[in-house]
């Protein structure tokens, strides 16, 4: 079992051990003292940690998060990580994301398109430790490869692949295989697992930059 990064812990909520981080609550999630529940059903990265995937983080990492949406997951990441850049393309969720970021001095929200890294390369620093990607667009592997420029060598990638974003009619397994192959351009895949029961038709991939 991989150790959880510092700042993430399993706490008891309603009698079950579930992930939690310390920080200001975001959407009315249950809390246990200073700890707030990190719901794996609402967060693909949460599901990947809950499934004990091989994610070696120790806490305090610098992070680029692509597809931050309204900031549910990225708020937990910012609770245990260092400087965290959150990129989201849709304006409506960004309104909420900015609210989440206001209370977290290490979280930097950006209204940018993850498919166009040049539009935020003047803001996001290089040699980051950790890249998280959860974008529902076609060409998810391409996005991960294009954004590898922000990662340090051996930097870690956690990628949630949504089969239906690539092709609604294709067999999810075939889509996942295509993504794993396309990642080879920039990454070495360490672990990959389906995210059921937390998320249907999603694959979690852990990889390091080579």
């Amino acid at each position: 079992m991989t150790d959880l990064p510092e700042g993430v812990d399993r706490r008891s909520f309603d009698g079950t051990q579930r992930l939690a981080t310390q920080g200001q609550p975001v959407y009315g999630e249950p809390t246990d003292g200073e700890w707030r529940l990190w719901d794996a059903g609402r967060s693909k990265l949460g599901a990947m940690l809950e499934l004990d995937m091989d994610i070696s983080l120790s806490g305090g990492e610098s992070v680029l998060y692509l597809g931050a949406a309204s900031g549910t997951t990225v708020s937990h990441v910012a609770d245990f990580a260092g400087p965290t850049y959150a990129v989201e393309f849709a304006p409506r969720p960004v309104r909420d994301l900015v609210g989440v970021a206001e209370a977290r001095p290490n979280l930097f929200p950006l209204l940018k398109d993850a498919r166009k890294p040049e539009t935020y390369a003047h803001i996001v620093e290089r040699d980051l430790d950790f890249l998280v990607q959860d974008v529902a667009t076609r060409g998810q592997a391409r996005v991960a490869v294009d954004n590898a420029q922000f990662l340090a060598d051996d930097g870690l990638l956690c990628l949630a692949v949504k089969a239906r974003s690539e092709d609604v009619t294709a067999d999810p397994e075939a889509v996942f295989e295509g993504v794993r192959e396309a990642l080879v351009d920039a990454y070495h895949v360490v672990d990959s697992q389906r995210l059921e029961p937390f998320h249907d038709d999603h694959l979690g991939i852990v990889a390091t930059k080579h």
């Binding site: 309104r95 900015v98 930097f108 209204l111 390369a121 003047h122 290089r126 009619t169």
Partner: protein, 290 residues
């Protein structure tokens, strides 16, 4: 270190004063760089900030300010307002109808010959209550009346706004259907970028995905069915009509998004195409008579 000076020139903080959040906000939104660099270190070396901790403070202030402004600007783009208006209109209509049903169930126990629907609610709202119970029912009728009126006014608003935002699309489809198409596509730009085959079945996603999964035939039309060009054409020719209509609608959306000028030619072309398609029905019935 000239290399680093050059490199720093590509950063969001280049040439800025640390206190000028407005200017920083603009470069964050508009500038770009070929590749990332060690911005915190470069910013300290360039004298923009005293320490990396200070750098992150400035970055936090600037990104919050910039991103909030950028999101607000994008959300206020006119086609997005139209999208909210049409969704609000549909919600108001649906809710008014649901409440009107509840109301006629209830009012039927109190009054004889109570008419149903929105009209019934409006008539009921004018009555004078004679008991606390009647007062509740009549007050509810008043809300239904208010909601239905709001839906009508939203419709009027859409009819006035849509031609400004999408002149060709509104002329061709009518303002309300134009607004619905924009809402279904998620904006005028996304509608302009969709192939006409997608425009043809917008609003028929359930049927389309059932078809793609191997159940059922492919839908011939989505929301565009509400237009007379499609619904008024005989069933055998509806596929052709929907295809022709959707094709011209995507062209109209593209003109509206990329140029914004009214172009009468495309409307004439569509009219001509529609009469050709409808002439088939005439030809078929003449053939049957002979």
């Amino acid at each position: 270190m000239t290399d680093d000076t050059d490199a720093a020139a590509a950063g969001w903080f280049a040439g800025l004063d640390a206190v000028d959040t407005e200017a920083a906000s603009r470069t964050i939104r508009e500038a770009s760089a070929a590749e990332p660099a060690d911005w915190p270190r470069l910013a300290v070396e360039a004298g923009f900030v005293d320490s990396e901790a200070d750098y992150y403070n400035q970055l936090h202030k600037a990104t919050i300010h910039s991103t909030r402004a950028a999101a607000r600007a994008r959300e206020q783009a006119d086609d997005k307002q139209l999208l909210h208006a049409v969704r609000a209109m549909d919600d108001a209509t649906r809710t008014a109808n649901e409440l009107a049903e509840r109301l006629s169930e209830w009012a039927g126990t109190l009054f004889d010959d109570q008419p149903t629907g929105i009209e019934g609610a409006r008539r009921l709202a004018d009555r004078e209550p004679k008991s606390p119970l009647e007062a509740r029912v009549i007050s509810l009728a008043d809300r239904v009346d208010g909601l239905a009126t709001e839906a009508d006014e939203l419709g009027t608003f859409i009819e006035r706004q849509a031609p400004d935002i999408a002149p060709n699309l509104s002329e061709m489809a009518g303002p309300v259907l134009a607004a619905r198409l924009i809402a279904l596509a998620g904006g005028l730009e996304s509608l302009a970028k969709k192939p006409s085959g997608t425009v043809q079945v917008l609003g028929a996603e359930d049927a389309l995905f059932a078809h793609l999964a191997g159940r059922g035939s492919s839908p011939k039309h989505g929301i565009i069915y509400t237009h007379e060009y499609v619904s008024g054409t005989r069933p055998e020719d509806r596929g052709s009509a929907a295809r022709a209509f959707a094709g011209k609608l995507s062209i109209a959306a593209r003109i509206d998004h990329y140029s914004g000028k009214f172009k009468p030619e495309i409307h004439d072309e569509l009219d001509e195409r529609m009469s050709t398609i409808r002439a088939r029905a005439g030809a078929a019935s003449e053939g049957a008579e002979q």
